[in-house]
Amino acid sequence: MTSPTLTPTRIGDPVDRVDGVAKVTGQARYAAEQPADRLLYGWVVSSSIAKGRIVAIHDEDARAISGVVEVMTHVNRPQLPRFDHSYKDALCVPGSPFRALYDERILFNAQPIAVVLADSLEVARYAASLIEVDYERETHNTDFTVALADRFVPQDKRSGFEAPKNRGDAQSAYGAARCKIAADFHLPTHYHNPMELHATTVVWEGDGRITVYDKTQGPQNVQGYLSAVFGFSPEHVRVKNPYVGGAFGSGLRPQYQVYLATLAAKMLERSVRVVLTRQQMFSHVHRPEAVQSVALATDPSGRLQAIINDAATSTSRFEDYMETVCDWGLMNYACENASAEYTIARVDTYTSGDMRAPGAATGMTLFELAVDEMAYAANIDPLEFRLINYSDKNAMDDTPFTSKALREAYAQGAAKFGWSRRTPAPRSMKDGRELVGLGLATGMWDALFRQMAVHARLLPNGDLEVATAGSDIGTGTYTVMAQVAADTLGLPIEKVTATLGDSSLPESPAEGGSSMAASVGAAVQVACRAVAEKLLVAADQIEGQPLGGARLEDVTLAHGRIALKSDPARSISFGDAMSAAGLETIEVEDTPASRSGSSGQSRKSRNTHSAIFAEVKVDEELGVVRVTRIVIAVAAARIINPKTARSQILGGVVMGIGMALHEEALTDHRIGRCMNRNLGEYHIPAHADIRDIEVIFVDEPDPEVTPLGVKGVGEIGIVGTAAAVINAIFHATGKRVRSLPVTLDKLLDS
């Protein structure tokens, strides 16, 4: 380990992840890894039909196995509330949330219908295999293409949903134009599949309290949900998630394992652990299936004259999940005539939900495939085409951006990638027997900011603790917190302890939407500044006031000392200041104002942008595509930690490559079940699929976007990446594949 340095850590330093050592030594404990006395293992039994009713559950054989304590079903479960409002979590969407084991109705395939509770994992698993269920089937439909006949515009919008806004007259402009394209694109259902299985350990404390270790992105959301559903008073429910083994959106809303584990704990008054199987990870939230119909037209110089961008995504029969799919193309490109319609269609599955860059990963990616087709139709280089149609403002809302360095991202990315070596004609570049393709796409995401609170505590020796209820799902939140705290008080990061993942800590929204770094960073800074103010007040108690009543702007904080800027020789230590005031600690809890000085200003758009360049090599005889190089240039304002931020981008790019080439849930619509529900058949990128990825952070100073001038980077890496890869495949092969992923069969037959 690097020896602690006394140099203060600064925002912008590429420091190592502070939770790295716990993770590489196996000391970090995840939800299924918390010990509990007299623990029962719950094994979930899943329905084998997609729609209908349970007529009978035959659990006698299971109950006969020694070690089985209970088989919990809709028949014997404890009482549950009747009305939907009790089941609505803070991030719910319009509709009627799923209630496991509520009654005999089956709403989707692999719905949890029973939980076997036993004193060992093996007994629970075995006994679950003995349960027989009689069903009465009803006709289901899981085929989205069939459901599209009944697509509709959702009336009751989920919070945060932005419906597209039309401008000009896109239909007439499209009709009148000579140079145009129209195409339909399809994205299959994706499952998040974090490596950690969804799991919960409920510790029955015996005094009416429960401590719940849950795989979630929002412990306070789960706390509120469990209290409302199970009738606990909120202070009796403490939800912890100090380590989360990835989530990508799958832990935003409470998942059914936490509900089942808590229900069982309440029924048996014992500690219970429920871990889903990998198969069962394909029975809940997923990125919706989507179709997007894009029509574009240009004038002879390549200027866009019309954008028509309609899309539909899948949702369940019981809730209306919707995401912002259509807006991205309309916001990003200058064009006087643009229209879009967003609809949803119901299938008999669990409700779809947010997955990394929800809406944009679908809508911007598919739009960027169409942009490439348009550029070719107009006979213009795809990069040149994007520059011709560049918009300095948000073209849909007609609002300025707080910053948009996309032009620089295109330029720096193209230079690094060597775009100029590209010969435009498809099939014109080769490397030995392989065809080479170079492709490009644009990415865009929101720069979100959410108010949250942070608790800070300083000790006289300069040890500093900062804490909030938020989560680190692999995103680097611990590190960002510690780094901003260290920067604010001039400490080395080794002196700072960041605590997260506990619902009893100060209020924080769920980790999601790339909002956390900007939000928690601002809150940490505000809290640590308040600590510094208190230090100054304490310093004034020192005899003779060596700092002469200086204010925060008059001093520097470094090495555990406060020094006057005007006369650095005049300084006092934190410890001396605190002891003069008789303080053993300085503690503060604070929340920053909503946005930095945004009141009274006209509305502005806040977004991150990226330019992604992909090189592919295609072996045409075998149809094998290799992504040999990606260069992604990201404009995301100020980067708190270039090392962990780069990792976030890399992760998004890898998922984007998977979206282009691998990921696809395959459903047998006759039984309404996802058939490739395992990691052997639901393909995600493996080591051998990933070659060079270069990340560039473009300089984009933006003091206005959020208090620290930070935009998040968790999602931007995935947005558009698949389009860059697929556009490169076209350049290599001359084949347009419009249905993702681009598997070898599609390249061989088209």
Binding site: M1, D134, V244, T277, R646
Partner: protein, 179 residues
């Protein structure tokens, strides 16, 4: 009306066949250098033994089917998916898990390289990646980046830390190879 088809036939059985499975069998394992004795049922995997009975939860479960590599440990220095090993079949074996790699407070070179290269995000695949990398080094077949990527492909990382993982492993390989 119809009757349920078993979702997962591998676990289906009859109530009577369970009796044998529940008979405890004495075995011993040397786990991270410490001799441990168990009386375990034949259906207990090495992975579940480590996690649920030894509380060595550094070894992760990502699929329980040999498809993800999160459960990789070293048995006699060879990397293996511990979810596919019935513990009783390895009586007497030397098992090294992620908890056994560091030398007290001094990180193992792979652990150190993973931290420095930020070869992890959520950290859930990480113990498996590191044990697998040690197994790879022990095998002695990999020297180029391409070989590392190919031979590490049994360890999935959904956070997509692959390039950093490969860089961390290459650094250790290069140091190991140096005279």
């Amino acid at each position: 009306m119809d009757t349920r088809v078993h979702d997962d036939p591998s676990h289906a059985g009859t109530a009577s066949s369970v009796a044998g499975a529940r008979e405890a069998i004495p075995i011993s394992l040397i786990i991270n250098g410490r001799q441990r004795h168990f009386a375990i049922e034949p259906w207990v995997t090495l992975l579940d033994l480590l996690r649920e009975q030894e509380h060595l939860t550094g070894t992760k479960k990502g699929c329980d089917h040999g498809q993800c590599g999160a459960c990789t440990v070293l048995i006699e220095g060879k990397r293996i998916n511990s979810c596919l090993v019935l513990a009783v079949s390895r009586d007497g074996a030397q098992v090294t898990t992620i908890e056994g790699l560091a030398d007290g407070d001094r990180l193992h070179p792979l652990q150190q390289a993973f931290v420095e290269h930020d070869a992890l995000q959520c950290g859930y695949c990480t113990p498996g990646q590191i044990c697998s990398a040690q197994g790879l080094i022990n095998e002695g077949h990999a020297s180029s980046g391409n070989e590392v990527r190919e031979l590490m492909s049994g360890n999935l990382c959904r956070c997509g830390a692959y390039t950093n993982i490969a860089a961390a492993i290459m650094e250790v390989l290069d140091k190991d190879g140096a005279p």
